[in-house]
């Protein structure tokens, strides 16, 4: 009890110092239409000059009732909907959903499907981190990285397009495996991409990692300790940058991640700069995983034996995966019919966004922008 109390106590608002010149406390409404709130996040800032006294997030502008929709669609029909939540990491969402239902049905996707899933999911992680890097740098004022990362993300999207016809909301996986066999030359395309991409990471780093202004803008900004992260439920690269070596791919391996050899990059200070380094390092690790997967990809069927009409037995399952943004969980309750009785999505962005207030207090307005960027939120997932 005492420990949790202390976790709360420094979340309380300190009494602000009496401002100079009796200036009124300034309340600024940032968003929902604001260039740096990544969609329709609305942040109400209380400022003393430029210093943030506190902030409140107002969300829900993009609420589409995904969970309600899930209750009115069959298991198969709901699959494309999950792509629309975190639309920059649609493949990860699909993987989480398919694996949850597979768990409910007690089937397992065949090995070949598992390998293709891992390749596509890790490519998706790279794409998501690229998009994050570009927009984050843009928020801090560096416009050029955005174009570099988008140029390279295009190559990933091309692979998706060749594989399943869609680029963003791919609907790549089916319950029980894959619908499509990989196209001829898929492996070669992936290998070509990896060879193309590794030097590009160095290019991003060259632009930013040692850039004095970048370091000054991000180091010691939005610090959050590992303890606070856990207390607030923050996961993903944000947690790892705070020094907690925890990744669901290692902690509770799903798909066939246990077959691959990769490291979990962690940071020390839990500041924006560390989160940047962690994400860049994660891109390299993803490349490592894909390299191994593409070499070891076995032949065989791509679809497990799944009935045409999916009717799981009565029961409930919680399953979570390591999405690019953190722990993405699905809690599905089945009542034995063809439609899920309840689908609950545990969105990483939603929970991570809670830490914004803690990370921004006492910082400057410009830091709020940096911190919103570094949390890597997607409003489609926050609001669902």
């Amino acid at each position: 009890m005492t420990e949790s109390d202390s976790a709360l106590s420094h979340l309380d608002l300190e009494t602000p110092e009496k401002p100079f010149l009796d200036a009124n406390e300034l309340v600024i409404n940032m968003g929902p239409q604001h260039p740096a709130t990544h969609g329709v996040l609305r942040v109400i800032l209380r400022l003393d000059g430029e210093k943030v006294l506190g902030l409140e997030c107002v969300i829900g502008y993009l609420h589409r009732g995904v969970e309600k929709i899930g209750e009115h669609r069959t298991y198969t029909m709901f699959n494309p909907y999950v792509d629309r939540m975190d639309y920059v990491a649609a493949v990860s969402n699909g993987l989480g959903y398919c694996e949850t239902i597979e768990k409910l049905l007690n089937v397992e996707a065949p090995p070949r499907a598992q390998y293709v899933r891992v390749i596509l999911t890790e490519l998706n992680r790279i794409a998501s981190h690229q998009l994050w890097l570009g927009t984050h740098a843009l928020d801090i004022g560096a416009i050029t990285p955005l174009f570099y990362t988008f140029r390279d993300r295009e190559e990933i999207l091309k692979i998706y397009e060749k594989y399943c016809g869609a680029r963003l909301t791919t609907h790549a996986f089916r319950i029980g495996g894959l619908q499509y066999e990989t196209y001829a030359g898929f492996e070669q395309d992936v290998r070509n991409f990896l060879n193309f991409f590794l030097p590009k990471i160095d290019e991003y780093e060259e632009l930013l990692t040692t850039n004095r202004i970048w370091v000054e803008r991000t180091r010691n900004v939005g610090i959050i300790s590992g303890k606070d992260c856990i207390a607030l439920g923050v996961t993903g690269p944000v947690l790892r940058a705070s020094g907690v070596k925890w990744d669901l791919r290692k902690a509770q391996p799903y798909a066939n991640y246990k077959n691959f050899d990769f490291d979990i990059p962690i940071g020390q200070n839990g500041d924006t700069y560390d989160r940047y380094l962690v994400r860049v390092a994660e891109m390299r690790q993803s490349v490592r995983i894909i390299e191994q997967a593409v070499e070891a990809i076995p032949e065989g069927p791509i679809m497990a034996k799944v009935p045409k009409v999916i009717k799981p037995a009565v029961g409930e399952v919680y399953h979570s995966i390591e999405a690019p943004k953190g722990e993405l969980g699905y809690f599905v309750v089945s009542d034995g019919s063809t439609q899920p009785y309840r689908v609950r999505v545990r969105p990483p962005s939603f929970v991570n966004l809670q830490a914004l207030d803690k990370m921004c207090r006492g910082q400057l307005v410009a830091d709020v922008i940096a911190v919103i960027g570094t949390l890597d939120i997607v409003l489609g997932e926050v609001d669902r």
Partner: protein, 425 residues
Amino acid sequence: MNSIVQYIQSYLASDKTPGAAGNMFWALVYIMLVFVGLSVAVIAMNWLERKILAHMQVRLGPMRVGPHGLLQPIADAIKLLLKEDIIPAEADGLIFWMAPFIVVLAAFTVFVVVPFGPTHAITDMNIGILFMLGVSSLSVLGIVMAGWASNSHYPLIGALRSSAQMVSYEVAMGLAVVSAILMTSLNATGTGTLSMIGIVQAQQAQGEWFIFKFFPLGLIAFFIFAVAMVAETNRAPFDLAEAESELTAGFHTEYSGFRWSLFFLAEYSAMIAVSSIAVTLWLGGWLRPFPNLLSGGIWELVFSFFPGVTFLFFAAICFYNTVRMPKHPLFRIQTIGLAAFGVVLALIGLVLFIPAVSMRVQDIFWFATKVAAFMYLYIWYRGTFPRYRFDQLMQMGWKVLLPMGLGVLILTASVALLQQKLWHP
């Protein structure tokens, strides 16, 4: 009639600026020339910035309006002029209306004393550099007025930021300028000058650009100025006042259409203005490279070819791209347009080979080239750097640049005094 012609012709033989010679007619002509030249420069700068930035960022930039988007700035200008001019209901109408004019006025007035050549300035003032700094500091007023009159939070914060920033960096900038002015006093009489033309002439007389004077003191002063001038014009990486990711657009958030374009115009002409101060003070103004070392008839001739050759080079680029244009009926007009542009450039280049013209215009060419290098630097910064945070900006201004400026000033003064004592014991 005759006397008027004589009045007009009399100036051509003079070696003074029209203002100093007291020739109203030529002063007016020069004002018109500067105004038109500046407007063209801003338009060209608009295109160049988008194009250069685009190529730095692996994209093409404007390509649709005219060949390689050459007519894009004109299209933009028409769009801006035709846009609805919105004055927010709660705004302070009069001040809101006045602010952009003050900014533009301040940005353009400074060009009265900019020396494009020994005779190519509207006038030469005894307090030239002081006048430039003073008038350009007035543009802060316009920004503050714009931010306040909009009656909205983002512009207000933007205005407070930019005025605090400009006032702070003016101090460091002033110290750097003073150390350059000290260098002008190293002559037989021992008195320096504030006149822009006088400063360049001092560099000519001493046979050294001030950037290399008392190495590395001149270089450091120049560096301070080069940083401060970017902050002074609110450009990346010091563009906090209009940081679009934080304050949407800073002080001109509520402005639209023509008024907004005035701010735009002022921003670019202010960039040109501070760059010309830097060029005048440290990079020898209108002087061509190595005026003393490589002097003599042949070298004079060689350097007089430069303006023409440059224009011919640009024309050649145009022709090369004309040939590379897609051979498609839809591109015919664009191809012809590009070729015509190349022909215009080539003709200008050929005219510049006429000795009489080239002698008269050379100074302007060298001055403009140096200023253009600064403009490129501005774009380069924007493509490379993230944005500073406000407190870091202030820290840099007050804790780094100001002490450095003071140190350089004291050292320059000591060295200059020492040298004078050695000269006149």
